[in-house]
C-alpha cells in the first residue's frame, strides 16, 4: 500500500510538472505567435499597393535595377508588374498561396515558376520578392530575449516554403525585424536579410523602407529592395487571376 501511495504522489507530481510544462510552452508559443503577427502587421498592411525598387549589385560593382508595382490582398495573393528596365517592362508575376506564375508579354500563357527561382537574378528569389506574411508560412518554435531584441526561431509549416527555418531578430519597442537569417533543412545558411531605414508610411506606422540581403552562397553579391508609396488599397479578387496579369497596368 505504501508503495501504491508513493506512486499516486509521484504521479501527482509528474502530472503537475507536465501541466506546468504544457502551460509554459503554450504560453511561449502564444507570445511568439503574437509577436510574429505584430511583426507582419508592422512590416506591411494586409492589403496594399506599393512601388519597389530592386537593386542587384555584383562583386565588381556593376548593378542592375528593377522597378515594380505591387498589389497584395489578404494572406495569400500578390501580383507585381515590372515598370522598368525597358527590357523587362510589362512582365508580371502572380502568387496565390504556394502557386507562382510569370507573365511575359510575348509568351501566350503565364508560366509557372518556383519559389527558389529568381525572376530578377541576384540574391533575392521569388519567395523574397513575392513574400507572404511570415505567420502564414512559419510557426514559432522558440522565443528568446536578448537586450533590446526578441529572437524568434521559426519553422516552415510545409515543405513548399522556400526556407526551412528562420532566425529573426525583432526590435522590442517597435516590433519590426532588424535581421533574419534563412536556413535550408540541412542547416545551411542561405541568406541574411537586413531591415533598415525606418520611415512612416501612408497609415502613419513606422516601417523599414530598405531591405538588404547577402548570401554566403553568392559571395560579394548584394541585393536591395527599397519600398515607396505603400498605401492601403483593397482591389477585387479578379485582379489576382492569370487572365488579369496582362492588364495590371490598367489599375495602377
Amino acid at each position: 500500500m505504501r508503495c501504491g501511495t508513493f506512486r499516486r504522489e509521484e504521479m501527482r507530481v509528474l502530472l503537475g510538472l507536465w501541466l506546468v510544462l504544457l502551460l509554459s510552452s503554450s504560453g511561449l508559443a502564444l507570445d511568439g505567435t503574437e509577436i510574429l503577427k505584430k511583426v507582419d502587421a508592422n512590416l506591411q498592411p494586409e492589403s496594399f499597393e506599393s512601388y519597389r525598387k530592386l537593386i542587384n549589385i555584383e562583386p565588381n560593382g556593376a548593378k542592375r535595377e528593377f522597378l515594380l508595382y505591387t498589389l497584395k490582398k489578404g494572406h495569400d495573393k500578390i501580383a507585381s508588374l515590372f515598370l522598368s528596365p525597358a527590357s523587362e517592362k510589362g512582365r508580371a508575376t502572380l502568387r496565390l498561396g504556394d502557386n507562382m506564375w510569370l507573365y511575359i508579354p510575348n509568351v501566350g500563357k503565364p508560366i509557372r515558376i518556383t519559389s527558389l527561382q529568381s525572376v530578377v537574378g541576384g540574391v533575392f528569389n521569388n519567395a523574397d520578392i513575392m513574400r507572404l506574411d511570415y505567420n502564414v508560412e512559419y510557426d514559432v518554435r522558440a522565443l528568446e530575449e536578448k537586450g533590446n531584441e526578441f529572437v524568434l526561431e521559426l519553422k516552415a509549416k510545409t515543405g513548399a516554403v522556400a526556407y526551412d527555418r528562420l532566425k529573426m531578430w525583432v526590435d522590442k519597442k517597435i516590433l519590426v525585424p532588424t535581421k533574419i537569417e534563412c536556413f535550408a533543412a540541412t542547416g545551411l545558411l542561405i541568406k541574411t536579410l537586413y531591415f533598415k531605414e525606418m520611415k512612416p508610411f501612408d497609415d502613419g506606422i513606422l516601417r523599414p523602407s530598405v531591405n538588404e540581403t547577402d548570401s554566403p552562397l553568392y559571395k560579394g553579391y548584394q541585393s536591395i529592395i527599397v519600398y515607396a508609396r505603400v498605401k492601403k488599397r483593397i482591389v477585387p479578387d479578379e485582379v489576382f487571376t492569370l487572365e488579369f496579369l496582362s492588364r495590371i497596368e490598367t489599375i495602377r
Binding site: G61, S87, R229
Partner: protein, 442 residues
C-alpha cells in the same frame, strides 16, 4: 567565326565596363529613388521599344526543292549574307476607364537582292474597363490562345507561331473582344469568358479567310483544382467551324504538363503530284499537342512537346510536291518553260510553305540559366524533329545581357534530312545569326 568573336568581345567588355563602375559599397539614395518612383507612378503613358541589328549567314542547299524554287532563274552562291535592322515602338496611354495600346514594327533588310523595307502596325487597340472584372477591347490585338510553347493548334484567331522562334511577336488581327472574369473561393478559383468578333473585309483581316463576313469566337477559362482549363470555339463563314480545348497543370512545383486539342470541321487540303495533278481532301481535322516543362534544382529547364498536325500533309503528299518541283525545274532548264516551277513557287507561299507542313513533330528544348556563375547568360539547345520522315533542325543558342537593356543572342540552325524530307528540302543547310537588341523607354 567573326560573330562568335563579337559575342566574346561583348562578354569581356561588360567585365571591363563593370570594373570601371566598381565601388566599395553601394549606398542607397532614398530621395533619388523616391523621385524616380514618383515620376513612374504619376505617368499616365508609356513609350518604349527596341532597336535591333541582326546579321545572318545562310548556307544554301542548292539541291533542295525550296532553294530551287527561290533561285531557279539565277543560281545562287552556296552562302549569302543578310543584314536586318529593326525598330519596334510600343506605347500606352490610360485615362480611367479607358486605355490605348499600340505596337509598330519597322524592318529594313539588305541582302544580295538589295534593300527592302517594311513597316507594320502590329497592335493598336482601345480598352474600356467599366468594372474590374469586365474589359472591352477593340482594334488590332493578339489573342494568345493555347498552352503549347512551340505550336498552338487551338489558337483559332492568331497567325501561327514560328516554332523555331516562338517568342517572336505576332502580327495581330482586328477584333472586338469582351473579357468577363469572376473569382470564387473553393476548388473553382476563376472563370473567364472571352468573346471575340472578327470582321473579314477587303481592308480588314483580308488574309484571314473568305471576305465580307463577320465571324465569332469564344473561350471559356477555368482555374479548377489548380488546373488551367480552356474551351474554345470559332464559327463564321470566313473559315470552317472549329472547336478546341487546352489544359495546364503543375504536377509538382517544378514539373508542368500541358495539352491542346482542336477539331476543324470540313477542312480542305489541296495536294499536288509529280505531274501537277491536284487533289482535294476534305475531312474533320483533329490536331493535338502534349507537352511538359521540367525545371531542375540547377535551373536547367527542359521543354518537350509532341504535335499531331491534323491539317498537315502526309509523307507521300510532301514527296509529291518535291517531285513536282523537280519536274518543273528540269522543264525550265531544258525547255525554258517556267510555268510549272512558277506554279510550285505559288503553292510554296501557301500550305506547303508553312513552318511545319507535316503531321507529326517532336519539339525539345533545354536551357541552362546562368551557368558558371555568369549572371544574365543563358545557353540553350532546341531541336524540332519531323517524326514522320526523320528530318530535323538543331538550334544551338547563347544569349547574354551584358548591361541593362542590351541583349546579345548568337544562334545557329543546322538542318538535316534526306531527299524528299521536310528539313532536307528547305532552302538552307544551316543558318547563323547574331542579334543585338537594345531596349529603351522614353
Amino acid at each position: 567565326m567573326a560573330w562568335l568573336t563579337i559575342f566574346l568581345i561583348v562578354l569581356h567588355l561588360q567585365l571591363f565596363v563593370a570594373r570601371l563602375w566598381a565601388q566599395d559599397k553601394y549606398q542607397v539614395d532614398l530621395s533619388d529613388i523616391e523621385k524616380e518612383i514618383q515620376r513612374a507612378a504619376d505617368k499616365p503613358y508609356s513609350l518604349g521599344g527596341f532597336l535591333e541589328f541582326q546579321p545572318q549567314i545562310f548556307g544554301i542547299d542548292r539541291d533542295s526543292a525550296f532553294s530551287r524554287l527561290q533561285f531557279f532563274r539565277q543560281r545562287q552562291d552556296s552562302t549569302f549574307e543578310q543584314y536586318n535592322f529593326r525598330l519596334r515602338l510600343d506605347g500606352s496611354y490610360k485615362k480611367d476607364p479607358f486605355s490605348v495600346f499600340f505596337k509598330t514594327d519597322t524592318h529594313v533588310r539588305n541582302d544580295f537582292q538589295g534593300w527592302d523595307e517594311d513597316a507594320k502596325l502590329f497592335e493598336a487597340y482601345l480598352s474600356f474597363k467599366p468594372v474590374s472584372g469586365l474589359a472591352l477591347d477593340a482594334g488590332k490585338k493578339v489573342m494568345k490562345w493555347g498552352k503549347g510553347y512551340a505550336w498552338n493548334p487551338a489558337s483559332f484567331i492568331d497567325r501561327p507561331k514560328n516554332p523555331e522562334d516562338p517568342l517572336h511577336d505576332l502580327l495581330a488581327s482586328t477584333v472586338a473582344t469582351a473579357d468577363y472574369i469572376r473569382s470564387f473561393n473553393g476548388p473553382l478559383k476563376t472563370t473567364t469568358l472571352t468573346t471575340a468578333l472578327i470582321p473579314v473585309y477587303r481592308y480588314v483581316n483580308a488574309k484571314f479567310g473568305e471576305l465580307y463576313h463577320l465571324n465569332f469566337a469564344s473561350k471559356l477559362y477555368f482555374l479548377l483544382y489548380d488546373t488551367d482549363l480552356d474551351f474554345m470555339v470559332f464559327t463564321g463563314s470566313s473559315r470552317t467551324t472549329r472547336y478546341g480545348f487546352d489544359f495546364s497543370k503543375n504536377l509538382t512545383t517544378n514539373l508542368e504538363i500541358h495539352g491542346e486539342f482542336a477539331v476543324v470541321n470540313n477542312f480542305k487540303l489541296m495536294s499536288i503530284d509529280q505531274r501537277g495533278l491536284t487533289s482535294v481532301r476534305e475531312s474533320e481535322a483533329l490536331s493535338y499537342l502534349l507537352g511538359l516543362r521540367y525545371l531542375t534544382e540547377m535551373e536547367t529547364t527542359y521543354i518537350l512537346e509532341y504535335y499531331r498536325n491534323g491539317t498537315g500533309f502526309t509523307k507521300n503528299q510532301l514527296e509529291g510536291f518535291v517531285d513536282f518541283v523537280d519536274a518543273g525545274d528540269l522543264s525550265f532548264r531544258t525547255t525554258g518553260d517556267d510555268g510549272a516551277i512558277r506554279r510550285a513557287k505559288q503553292l510554296a507561299k501557301g500550305a506547303y510553305g508553312r513552318p511545319n507542313p507535316g503531321q507529326h513533330y517532336l519539339y525539345f528544348r533545354v536551357s541552362q540559366k546562368e551557368p558558371f556563375d555568369i549572371l544574365y547568360f543563358t545557353p540553350a539547345l532546341t531541336s524540332i524533329l519531323n517524326a514522320t520522315d526523320g528530318s530535323l533542325v538543331l538550334i544551338p543558342e547563347l544569349s547574354y545581357s551584358p548591361v541593362t537593356n542590351l541583349e546579345v543572342r548568337l544562334r545557329g540552325a543546322i538542318l538535316s534530312g534526306g531527299k524528299g524530307t521536310e528539313y532536307g528540302e528547305k532552302q538552307n543547310d544551316y543558318r547563323v545569326e547574331l542579334r543585338l537588341r537594345y531596349y529603351f523607354q522614353l
